[in-house]
């Protein structure tokens, strides 16, 4: 099967890959580029576990074709920490124990980061609505919300 050649920017680095036309961005990230931080949950856009940003826009990578990111900038969970230094959201998730099994966590973090880039002072309600597309089957929602609000508060101070 003929493959598509794609060049993009991934977590700040130039990257190129070959993919089949039907491969999703999620499949490309995990199976071709071996970046397995982005998780597959439902693969139908309902759970948010595969959340990434493309050109700054939050989306489910299971609902994007790999071929579509030609020339675009993709950010995944792997680009969130600065080397060994965790992003404030990641640090607060540890402090608040805002995860149990951890499968939803990369998607939640990517989505929360996207919210804080737009609004560094969200209300609890705004955080809950923004994260409505990120399902957690361990039902750790309260701690997730607390961690996001705490991270926002710390980021406002710094």
């Amino acid at each position: 099967m003929a493959k598509v050649h794609v060049e993009a920017t991934l977590n700040g680095n130039a990257v190129e890959f070959l993919c089949e036309t039907r491969q999703t961005l999620l499949q490309v990230l995990r199976d071709e580029l071996h970046l397995t931080g982005t998780k597959e949950g439902c693969a139908t856009g309902d759970c948010g576990a595969c959340s990434v940003t493309v050109d700054g826009r939050l989306m489910c990578s299971c609902l994007v074709l790999g071929a579509e990111v030609q020339g675009k900038t993709v950010q995944t969970i792997e680009g969130m920490a600065d080397g060994e230094k965790l992003h404030p959201l990641q640090q607060k998730f540890l402090e608040h124990a805002a995860l149990q099994c951890g499968i939803c966590t990369p998607g939640v973090l990517v989505a929360a980061k996207s919210l804080l880039e737009r609004n560094l002072n969200p209300t609890e309600e705004e955080v809950r609505y923004w994260l409505a597309g990120n399902l957690c089957r361990c039902t750790g929602y309260n701690k997730i919300i607390e961690a996001v609000l705490d991270a926002a508060s710390e980021m406002r101070r710094s």
Partner: protein
């Protein structure tokens, strides 16, 4: 599995030529929030995917002398975040802001919502109430049709082979106009409408309704215009009595099915309630602009 060709044309003419000349199943890719799921489920196996996001008209929002035109491939979140657009057409933003999650709205488009032809599509009654037209381009040129003439039934549209909805045209807004869309779902987010209602109205300087459009979704094989409901508002102050008559007209127009989301009787009753509440919001928005 057959091979799937992916094309990213830069012009409408090129996209139309690709679709019109396709052998086998061809699909337009806008946000992909329906198409990719259908492909994954094996319901469609396109030989050709035409990604229309490289076409300027399809991704632009433009305002000319008070009249908006926006591309069929503009993601819902881009519309939602456009503050000027939201001031003029808050009811359209209501609809666009209810589809799926933030992630889904980052991809999903009004054009896709229309052409996927679900009777429960959230942007469609709002667009119909607004009096929007679809600008359709195909092998025989361009035509403009009211939104209500595009979807004909579940998954079915009036588009001919090779035709694409390129953009949407909204009329210039009269002063003291307001619109709103409401849907009923059993939870607060991430669900499909059991009933949806869009209302758009204009008041004169004395607060009398001079123009109204009412559209309802998820209560028939496609979204419906309800002229009788609009007529119940025109000439009134949109008082309780007028709203009651409008709600009755909405309920009378429903021809829903029973399914897991709601029974026939329930949908018929709730459609009137949703339309009344949407009209009250539209009224308040219109008054705020006086």
């Amino acid at each position: 599995m057959q091979e799937t060709r992916y094309e990213l044309p830069k012009t409408l003419e090129a996209a139309v030529a690709l679709l019109a000349g396709a052998n086998g199943q061809a699909r337009v890719l806008a946000g992909g929030t329906d198409l990719l799921i259908q492909m994954r489920g094996g319901r469609v196996e396109p030989a050709l995917i035409v990604d229309i996001k490289g076409i300027p008209e399809m991704t632009a929002i433009a305002m000319d002398n008070g009249a908006y035109r926006f591309g069929a491939a503009v993601p819902c979140m881009v519309l939602v975040e456009n503050k000027e657009f939201g001031k003029v057409w808050p009811g359209l933003v209501d609809g666009a802001n209810l589809i799926g999650s933030i992630q889904v709205r980052g991809r999903a488009t009004v054009g896709g919502n229309l052409c996927n032809a679900s009777p429960a599509a959230d942007t469609v009654p709002a667009m119909m109430a607004a009096g929007a037209k679809a600008s359709i381009i195909g092998p025989k040129g361009r035509r403009e049709v009211p939104i209500e003439e595009v979807a004909t039934g579940p998954g079915k549209t009036s588009l001919a082979k090779g035709e694409i909805v390129a953009s949407f045209l909204l009329p210039k807004r009269a002063p003291r106009s307001g619109d709103a869309y409401l849907r009923f779902i059993p939870r607060t987010e991430m669900d499909i409408a059991v009933v949806g209602a869009g209302v758009n109205l204009t008041l004169d300087d004395k607060g009398v309704c001079t123009h109204a459009r009412v559209a309802i979704g998820a209560v028939a094989e496609r979204a419906l215009m309800v002229p009788d409901a609009a007529a119940a508002l025109v000439g009134t102050n949109v008082d309780a009595e007028a709203l009651k008559r409008m709600a009755a007209a909405v309920s009378a127009a429903c021809r829903p099915i029973d399914d897991k989301r709601g029974t026939k009787e329930y949908r018929i009753k709730v459609s009137g309630v949703m339309a009344r509440r949407a009209a009250e919001i539209a009224l308040e928005r219109a008054r705020r602009k006086s």
